[in-house]
Amino acid sequence: MANTTARVAPARTQKAPEAGALVNRRKRRYTLLTRHDKILIALMVGIPLTLDVLLVWGPTLASVGLSFTNWQNIGPITGKNFVGFKNYQFMFSGYTLFWPAFTHNLIWLAWLTLIATPLGMFLAVLLDREMRGTRFYQSVFFLPVVLSLVVVGFIWDLQFAPTDGFINNALGTAKSSNLIDWLGNPRINLFSILIATSWRHIGYIMILYLAGLKSVDPSLREAARVDGATEVQTFFGVVFPVMAPINVIIVVITAIEALRAFDIAFITNQGKNGLELLSILIYNNSISEASLVGFGSAIAVILLLISLVPIVAFLSRVMRTLA
């Protein structure tokens, strides 16, 4: 690189009228940037970089470091606190909650990807057809999105309550001796809260996708219709491919929602008895009164590694489009 610059620089400077002045500076690296530009770039790169390092990479690396200790949030960290890979070893072999939590996150992801997100997209397509009352339906489906997940969890908690809840009373099972324990039965409670999550997620995806659909050039559809394509063919053959950027965002949002799942399970029963999730294990271990900061950090590192998969996939795609 240095060689190229050295060779190119004189070639250019020869043509320049003020070549004599530049010859003196030849030993410096040739640059097109003024001092002002350099300061500006240093600031524009430096400030975000400092913030990023301080607020994102610092804590991340600290977490990785802590994951090799058994520190309990009391006193300084000394050499005695370092336990090597013991936390990881116990997590994968002895800790009975890790693999259930891992599986639950995967189920969460599968549910959102295969059921909730397609349903939201389907609703968006329906609403896009300008049927009567579109605005009304739109606001009804969107309403849960403005609620925080804690409130959503609270609302569904009341619906699912075994004896007082709406669902069991509507089904008429509240009085029977084998009433359905929606939130207490570890075989079904994950799906109960997934229904609650979907209630909000569907509206979220719907509004995003609807915005995307509105921006599709109508002449494309007209052209498809003229060519004799059916509604389904038009959607999958023309509209869906055109929506590629929105589709990527939807996929990323779905993956992120599945990985950061926490609120509803936590508000239901602090994430135990069938509702274990990785994020909840982190909380219950390190932030709660338990204060097993080292072990909680080890789980956080694993979650970080998992999260890197969709992030890297998304970024590499974005980079490719930019390049």
Partner: protein, 462 residues
């Protein structure tokens, strides 16, 4: 977390949010003062106070200032705490008390950071293992001088509950509540039930209740901690106080045959539990008792809160309880039970403690008075005063009986999650394990007990 206030957190979610908001405001104000410098803080407040001159008499001091961190966010207990603080200010030469009230669950979860940061001078906490833990870590100030001045006002049981592992006094016990089997008198007289005193009579009563169309035992374990009350009492009756406390602090193994016996006995009464108990909160369990759907309910005295909340005084009058029946072992004679004790303690790292030590100690002396504790009890009737000189004449029958049952107990435990380490008793550990057991009580518990022991062994040394 074996505490009514903690459990109510979920129900009173929005109220809790308000409390958290208060905390933020308080913190920011404190931060401003912190910038002004710790040294000038006391002077600053004293200057604002005007005539609050400090006068020292022995270990305590009048006037001046002090600060108190409180987890009493429940409306009743919050009012009670404020009443105590106001009475103290009036009685102690106008000492200004800066009260910082933090949501109960938040306070509990952040306790380590709180005590290591810049805490208030005094704080509300639990006795038992949780108190000794922070005493051992040097995050609490011993108050032997105060205790010597007030200990004639306490029984030996309370004295034992506030001693650290180093034998020093670290807290003033202010209130407690027993765990027992609650029932409705009207339902029982209608069916002609009598109080069972043996395990067999207890089970026979369950059979009878089931035949009468009642849920024999209300049970609600969505919150995770209520099941620990049943584990406590069964283990105490079957294996005794010493084994129980040793087990909870890791000196005995969870794979022990004696623990297996607890689960075996437990499985004999689980068929009589509320259906879908893993999805019920303790309040919903209390409602089953209140609405005459259930016959009995093993819970703390705070179950009366739910009866009071029904709005009908007649309901509360019908509430009665009996001690858990004998199991036919040598440990029946201990009459042991869970009776969690709430305490006030002094922090170590409070930046103002050096200047306020006299006032803080005066406050500790003040809360050791029966009259102070009755003042609190009048606001929060689920909490029984601990001092000998508390005026018991205004106690309703239920409270009197609760006092009696505790005074008859030769051994008192503090509840599973106060007697054991929090990382073991929490949702991650024992709460989850007990729910796993309860999902299939007839299972061979060998592997489950193995998991309990493996989890204990994985925890770092305390």
């Amino acid at each position: 977390m074996g505490d009514s206030r903690e459990a109510k957190r979920v129900r009173n979610l929005l109220a809790a949010k308000d409390a958290a908001l208060n905390l933020n405001l308080d913190l920011s104000r404190r931060d401003v003062l912190k910038i002004a410098g710790y040294g000038s803080l006391a002077a600053f407040i004293a200057a604002c106070g005007g005539n609050n001159a400090t006068t020292t008499t022995g270990i305590t001091a009048k006037g001046g200032t002090m600060s108190l961190g409180s987890y009493n966010t429940d409306p009743n207990s919050k009012k009670g705490t404020q009443a105590i603080v106001d009475a103290f200010t009036a009685a102690n030469g106008g000492t200004k008390v800066k009260l910082n009230t933090v949501d109960h669950g938040t306070f509990q979860n952040q306790i380590s950071s709180y005590l290591q940061g810049t805490p208030e001078d005094a704080f509300t906490w639990f006795s038992g293992h949780r108190m000794r833990f922070f005493a051992d870590k040097g995050l609490a100030t011993p108050i032997d001088d105060v205790w010597d001045a007030v200990k004639s006002n306490y029984t030996a049981g309370f004295e034992a509950s506030i001693k650290g592992n180093d034998g020093k006094a670290y807290a003033i016990p202010t209130d407690y509540y027993p765990w027992a089997v609650f029932y409705r008198k009207d339902v029982w007289s209608q069916h002609g039930y009598t109080v069972p005193t043996s395990w067999d009579a207890f089970k026979a009563l369950c059979v009878k209740m089931k035949a009468d169309g009642l849920i024999p035992i209300a049970f609600a374990d969505k919150d995770g901690w209520p099941a620990q009350g049943t584990f406590d009492i069964l283990n105490l009756r079957l294996n005794g106080y010493d084994f129980h406390t040793e087990l909870l602090t890791g000196k005995q193994k969870w794979t022990d045959q004696r623990v297996t016996n607890v689960y075996k006995k437990w499985s004999e009464i689980t068929p009589y539990y509320s259906p879908a108990f893993a999805g019920l909160t303790w309040e919903q369990g209390a409602d089953q008792l209140l609405r005459k759907q259930a016959g009995m309910y093993l819970l703390g005295l705070f179950v009366s809160d739910e009866f009071k909340a029904s709005g009908s005084a007649a309901d509360l009058e019908q509430l009665d309880f009996f001690a858990f029946p004998d199991m036919g072992t040598q440990y029946d004679a201990e009459k042991a039970l869970d009776a969690p004790i709430d305490v006030y303690m002094l922090t170590k790292k409070s930046p103002t403690l050096q200047t306020d030590l006299g006032q803080a100690k005066a406050f500790m002396e003040f809360v050791a008075k029966g009259s102070t504790q009755v003042l609190y009890w009048q606001n929060a009737p689920g909490s029984i005063p601990t001092a000998n000189d508390a005026d018991t004449s205004t106690y309703p029958a239920l409270t009197k009986k609760a006092v009696q049952i505790v005074s008859q107990a030769k051994k008192i435990t503090q509840y599973f999650d106060r007697d054991s380490r929090p990382d073991y008793s929490g949702p991650n550990g024992m709460q989850g394990f007990l729910l796993k057991f309860l999902s299939n009580p007839k299972q061979d518990t060998t592997s489950l007990q193995g998991q309990m022991q493996a989890f204990w062994d994985s925890l770092p040394p305390e």
